[in-house]
Symmetry: C2
Subunit: 409 residues, 2 copies
Amino acid sequence: MGAKPPLSPLAPEGFPKLPVIGGVSFATTEAGVRYQNRTDVLLVSLAPGTAVAGAFTRSATRSAAVLDCQDKIGCDPVAGAAIVVNSGNANAFTGRRGAASVQAITEATASALGIPANRVFSSSTGVIGEPLPHERIIDKLEDLASALSPHAIETAARAIMTTDTFPKGASEVVMVDGQAVHIAGIAKGSGMIAPDMATMLVYIFTDAAIDQDILQDMVSALNRTTFNCITVDSDTSTSDTLLVAATGASGLRMTENSMGFMEGLRRVMLDLAHQVVRDGEGATKFVEISVTGAASDAEAHIHAKAIANSPLIKTAIAGEDPNWGRVVMAIGKSGARADRDLLAIWFGDMQVAKDGFVSPSYNEASAAAYMKQQEIVIHVDLGLGGGTARVWTCDLTHGYIDINADYRS
Amino acid sequence: MGAKPPLSPLAPEGFPKLPVIGGVSFATTEAGVRYQNRTDVLLVSLAPGTAVAGAFTRSATRSAAVLDCQDKIGCDPVAGAAIVVNSGNANAFTGRRGAASVQAITEATASALGIPANRVFSSSTGVIGEPLPHERIIDKLEDLASALSPHAIETAARAIMTTDTFPKGASEVVMVDGQAVHIAGIAKGSGMIAPDMATMLVYIFTDAAIDQDILQDMVSALNRTTFNCITVDSDTSTSDTLLVAATGASGLRMTENSMGFMEGLRRVMLDLAHQVVRDGEGATKFVEISVTGAASDAEAHIHAKAIANSPLIKTAIAGEDPNWGRVVMAIGKSGARADRDLLAIWFGDMQVAKDGFVSPSYNEASAAAYMKQQEIVIHVDLGLGGGTARVWTCDLTHGYIDINADYRS
């Protein structure tokens, strides 16, 4: 690995102040899985009765830890639960050894906390294709169990970082019947997958009381418009994991109609998703792609992803070039329905194309000035129907090539 | 535009010697469509009776010239025919004006050559979204018609270049009943679409006699394993055009069973396809992705394209990094069937992964040495069935970013 990359220019000013979530405590340690002189293992303890919902990579080559989490999601939440995460080694593409490592870690964690093994969720992120030295993690579990603190969420966010340039956290307080429900989450990730390491990992905690199946439905639905709407480089990790744990410590019960809570959870998920994009490898611009007028929401999403993943559009944004022709190209290749002569395109508030041709009001100098901003919005209206979608991405720069191609030099 | 990019390190030694094709003649001129001091218009005249087949971009925002060609393909080949091409302006996303320009150019060409307008095929390549000054082309048609020569195919290849760093030609001579049938073709393109310009244009000529519908079936079938199997940057042009013209001048008639002729045509198409990849923007490596053992040929193609289009794999190749973990990632995300623990991967002859884990014979130093070659073969066996595919691509380098992002600086 070369030198540590500099802080992303799109990083927030600092780690936010996150509320304590009743029933959740954290501990971190230096286990030397791969990194030296930094924390690399996180243990999260969750009170008995905590409902845990999740969403995972759909990769056909997903890791053993992801498969294990998927098996355990939905099981009876009577007992306590735990999340154990290591950075430095992804335990992905490690054959049968991978599953054995997951079993060893989750059973040892269950034993250290006195909970059933089917309530221990694990994640690993880092290099792939190398056996995980899981005994280094297991050796630290007793120490971790005795060091658990409800105040350690920022150190938790730092322990799971790999190529991230900043730790990521977000929170919301939602008022329900005059009482506060808290939601706090952490995330890591700076590419869908990064130099042999990385993956997106997200852990969100709330003191709301909510049935596991209702929480799972909310998470699955909200995931569709948050984490599933970001892309750094179109590449998908073998280990992406989102876990949402509801401890019930607030004593306030949510239902499928708790719109205030659902909106709070959505905001936390979207904030963390945006932070992952802002830490995208080599990113210098934060870009929103908004598509309206598509034949359906699903087709709007296909168009938005085609625009957000186009290397030519991402390099044009890096070059501060208002190259709307490349947007036309991406819509054309997406496979979703489009009529060239109905297309309208805006960069920010500026209409650049209309009825399939350059807009009469288009001014190259103004458009070029707009592209110098750090945050860019590209809006496309297809003129076909009511389908809409929003997707977030970053630009494609020399920094991306430096991180990913010059890795061995 | 910045300085002209240097000659691709993957360029052939020079333009090949191509045979004269009876019934085909070429003329080029400087019309100043956009470029100054270089040829930018090509006229090809085809003898009466020439069958013309084609394959075109499937972009939903395809250009007016592509739509016009698609309308005309398959019409009665009794009369003579023509192809007229300009570089410098793609006449794409130019609304109703685009169609009017195509009509004006094809009608003027028909008039200059005394052939019906429905036998004139046109292409335009260059900037998109700017009205085509078609009168500059029309003003030159009488001169072009009087300058036609059967020997000018190399100048033809040069007149259609945009960001290409070398002109592209290929030929085959096929023996049929002891007599020679000739095939010669030219191509341009150095990205699926390039800095506001580019597009892949391919014109192939043969003196074989062949029915238009049989030629069309051959071209459609061969296109699937040649031009449809190359990718530079996953972006698809609004103007990609392949035209194959069979004049019949050899007097030798081909049928759907003329395997020798079909194999010759395939070799010319594949050679030109490979030359387009070798001129890929910023390319320093020519890469073959070979997939075997997939559940079907179609799924093998999906896996191969996912590998060939992955920015992380393309940057790893640029960095001479034998990063087989990223190949696993791309297979996982492709959407086609895969079983992680059956995967085997080779870089050249070196097996790097086996049964879902690093191969016992893997040697990092040998693999790193292999990656220093200019031509790289990545072979994946999925262990599922008999499906196979081959795809060709290039690496993703700082040169690509220079050409596409630094365009305005």
